[in-house]
């Protein structure tokens, strides 16, 4: 799986998409009860459902046509593209292939 370095509102997070997403969820959940109650799977699903309301339509359309290692990778990428998210992917190390 791909390894990410992510900027989340002043904090640097490293790890695979699921792990990074879970830490972002916990951070957001500190001030949002609905997010606090979610699992990381539910959080990833919510981000994908909410994307049309935070991303420009043509950008979203282009990203929807891309393949990702997992839905966590897709959700993290969408989140990082949302102008208001405060989340940015600084670097991405692709998974090693055998």
């Amino acid at each position: 799986m791909a390894n990410y370095t992510v900027f989340n509102q002043g904090t640097i997070l490293n790890g695979e998409a699921q792990d990074v997403l879970e830490r972002i969820r916990k951070s957001a959940g500190a001030e949002n009860e609905e997010i606090a109650r979610m699992s990381v799977d539910e959080y990833a699903t919510a981000l994908l459902e909410d994307a049309p309301y935070f991303l420009e339509a043509r950008l979203l359309d282009a990203m929807q046509k891309q393949s990702f290692d997992s839905e966590y990778d897709r959700a993290l990428t969408y989140l990082a593209q949302m102008p208001t998210s405060g989340v940015r992917i600084i670097s991405l190390q692709a998974a090693q292939t055998a």
């Binding site: 459902e49 909410d50 309301y53 339509a57 043509r58």
Partner: protein, 170 residues
């Protein structure tokens, strides 16, 4: 319709949870705004529909009171299939600090504007405004009224759980 119980100078809720619901108030289209009001209320936001507030001097006050009500909201939902006075409100969204506005239009096309440029039949002025303010204005098509309701519901859910960035704590 205007109610003596709605006083624009004493509004329910707070700036953060009021949603301005706008569009044409013509009789043929007014019922949609009522349906959207029900959705806004169900999502635990406070709906504000301008024509429900009394105007001391209607011919003179409708513009100023409507914009006053818009200014009291942080979110907005507009039905934009037809050109109406709502254009004046949409024009002011950025000035008034509306964080997010959902612009709905009726279409039978399965591919939405801007991917399908002809899907939304409206003025180039409005399209260019939306293009310039795409981070604030969300345009979504609907086919049936219940689709407009569903879009509004998803929009408000998305805003409510967007606990990050500038929308933090909305």
């Amino acid at each position: 319709m205007a109610s003596v119980y709605n006083n624009p100078w004493v509004l329910s809720g707070t700036h953060r949870n009021r949603v301005f619901v706008g569009g044409s108030y013509a009789a043929s289209q007014r019922s949609l705004l009522d349906r959207l009001r029900v959705v806004v209320d169900a999502e635990r936001f406070i709906p504000i529909i301008a024509d429900e507030y009394p105007l001391p001097q209607p011919d003179r006050d409708i513009h100023d009171v409507t914009l006053f009500l818009l200014h009291a909201c942080k979110l907005a939902v507009f039905e934009c299939s037809t050109l109406s006075g709502a254009l004046m409100e949409i024009e002011r969204l950025a000035d008034y600090g509306i964080q997010r506005a959902l612009l709905l239009y009726q279409s039978q096309s399965t591919i939405a504007w801007p991917l399908n440029p002809t899907s939304w039949r409206t003025s180039q002025m409005l399209k260019s405004l939306v293009t310039e303010q795409e981070s604030r204005l969300v345009v979504r098509p609907y086919f049936r009224v219940r689709d407009a309701e569903a879009e509004t519901r998803r929009f408000l859910k998305a805003v409510r759980r967007s606990s990050y960035g500038k929308l933090h704590s909305l």
